[in-house]
């Protein structure tokens, strides 16, 4: 079975800011938000890894995005980490045009954390009510 981590590191060596193999089946790769679409496309289309979900987290340094992919044949979970530093107007290019399965989670992160996904086909409310007040993002720490 293919060593997908080696292939990602080989293709995107200049773009990987940090890499951590926490265990044989848990790998975290830090990249710039701008590199997410190309890397995600490579992992999904070329390496045939399944997109699992995206985790968005509000941190003091910015909105941290984790894109989780699974190489089912090896059980490896590869998580791409991208930090969106601008918390006033956080935005990142959508991967929904590449991966249909990512449509819903980007809507969810948009409404719960306020990240704008550029190029998303349908950025509307998924979980929250349609007239939810603008600017109120429930998963942001300042909302507590």
């Amino acid at each position: 079975m293919e060593d997908v981590v080696a292939r990602i590191k080989e293709k995107f060596s200049s773009r990987i800011l940090k890499s951590e193999e926490k265990s044989s089946r848990r790998i975290y790769l830090d990249i710039n938000p701008a590199d997410i679409p190309a890397t995600a496309k490579f992992i999904f289309k070329d390496l045939g890894c399944r997109f699992v979900i995206t985790t968005g987290t509000d941190t003091p340094a910015g909105i941290e995005m984790l894109y989780h992919f699974s190489q089912d044949s090896s059980g490896k979970l590869i998580s791409l980490r991208a930090l969106i530093v601008d918390k006033k107007h956080p935005q990142i290019e959508s991967i929904a045009p590449i991966i249909k399965g990512a449509e819903w989670i980007e809507r969810e992160i948009w409404e719960l954390l306020g990240v704008n996904f550029i190029g998303h086909p349908n950025l509307t409310h998924l979980l929250l009510i349609d007239d939810w007040p603008e600017g109120k993002y429930p998963l942001r720490k300042e909302e507590r």
């Binding site: 399944r50 985790t55 984790l66 699974s70 089912d72 490896k76 399965g101 819903w104 409310h125 998924l126």
Partner: protein
């Protein structure tokens, strides 16, 4: 066909189990598009998790679902154990596996019954749910509860399986085995059921990949993926069992996967009961260090994924939860399109969503722009009527 224009009232109804809303666009009888509207059960659990300490979170996430209630705690404790590098005692791994597989059996039986009801086979419904009872009794013997068994704990399990309980479990497995054999014959061989489910609600292999589905929904479309096999946890790599894969991607294939998986669950539990060593069931974890971890399990509906981040205090600072139905329900955007309104209920139910039946469905005729509100019962009735028509043509079978 003319439809009246009706103002939608909303997806909540006192008599329905769980609320959700589908808007079907039809041309005549054929479904040409579907809007899926969710969020009515959004309870802010990821947020709540940050206000509970690590042990409490296991109880919180157990209540995400009543049918697959152990899947979320199992994935959660796996995530924290991944974060902190905790080694779980052997006996606890086997107990966890037994609990998870018993749950798979009763969850699949529940689905089988519902599917039977939707297509008008109420006998299947009664039988399937009748054979759930001994499994739920088993849970009561082990944990004190028929649902929400509170067995998963970071570092182990909360209760042991006593030697005197093992004959009860084994007897239940014998009953379930006989029931599954009966369903194989009566359900899978029935020509009317085959006519009703074969070629219906197809999700092709490529669509299954594009929509990132998992679980029986993916395996019925030819994808050999199962977390128990791919990223083993519990005791799954210590026992022999098979991943069930079918290739047609239709509702019949999904039915076959679930029926045959129950046989595999029985096999797994029997081996676990025999191989389970004596010993500790709890690693007695006190503190969780800073870090992040990912845990996943193969729930009855597919991959249940939890991500947990800790800063060294006694609560998670981020807890991401992704239930299997999140991906699988979205795939109805393609699977439910192209079929007829009478097939809509069974198609939407075929991914075994974590809600039982369509609450409110708006049917919009694209040709004349008229819309009509049908509730879950209207659609089930249409589905059952289709079966009656087929029975007239093909002839009544065993049930």
């Amino acid at each position: 066909m003319s439809h009246k224009v009706v103002l939608p009232i909303g997806p909540y109804h006192p008599l329905q189990e769980e609320p959700e809303f589908f808007r079907l666009y039809v041309e005549g009888e054929k479904v040409v598009d579907i809007d899926i509207v969710i969020g009515y059960m959004h309870r802010g659990i990821e947020e709540l998790s940050e206000h509970k300490h690590f042990d409490q979170v296991a109880f919180l996430v157990e209540r995400i679902c009543g049918i697959c209630s152990t899947s979320h705690p199992f994935a959660y404790v796996n995530a924290v154990e991944d974060l902190a590098g905790i080694a779980v005692p052997e006996r606890a791994l086997y107990i966890r596996t037994i609990i998870a597989e018993l749950e798979r059996i009763h969850s699949h039986l529940l689905w089988l019954g519902l599917a039977g009801h939707f297509i008008g086979y109420n006998t299947v419904w009664m039988w399937a749910w009748r054979y759930r009872e001994p499994v739920l009794d088993c849970f009561e013997v082990i944990s004190g509860n028929r649902n929400h068994y509170a067995m998963m704990k970071i570092g182990g399990v909360r209760r042991d399986i006593r030697d005197e309980d093992i004959p009860v479990i084994k007897k239940t497995l014998d009953e379930v085995s006989r029931a599954v054999d009966m369903f194989k014959g009566a359900v899978m061989d029935d020509p009317v059921i085959q006519a009703r489910l074969k070629g219906i609600g197809i999700l092709t292999r490529q669509q299954a990949i594009d929509w990132c589905v998992e679980g029986p929904t993916a395996r019925a479309s030819g994808l050999n993926i199962d977390v128990r096999q791919d990223d083993p946890y519990g005791a799954y790599d210590r026992v022999d069992w098979n991943v069930i894969v079918q290739k047609d991607g239709d509702i019949f294939a999904k039915t076959v996967v679930r029926i045959l998986e129950m046989h595999e669950s029985v096999r797994i539990i029997r081996q676990c009961l025999d191989k389970m060593p004596k010993g500790e069931i709890d690693a007695n974890v006190k503190d969780i260090p800073p870090g992040e971890g990912i845990g996943r399990v193969e729930a009855p509906r597919g991959e249940c994924f939890h991500y947990v981040r800790s800063d060294g205090t006694n609560r998670p600072i981020r807890h991401k939860i992704r239930a299997p139905s999140y991906m699988n329900v979205a795939s109805n955007k393609v699977a439910a399109v192209g079929g007829t309104i009478s097939d809509a209920t069974i198609t939407l139910a075929a991914v075994d969503p974590c809600y039982c039946c369509t609450e409110r469905v708006a049917v919009l005729d694209k040709n004349n722009g008229n819309s009509r509100i049908m509730n879950g019962w209207d659609l089930i009735k249409l589905s059952q009527e289709k079966t009656e028509q087929l029975k007239k043509v093909i002839g009544q079978w065993k049930i």
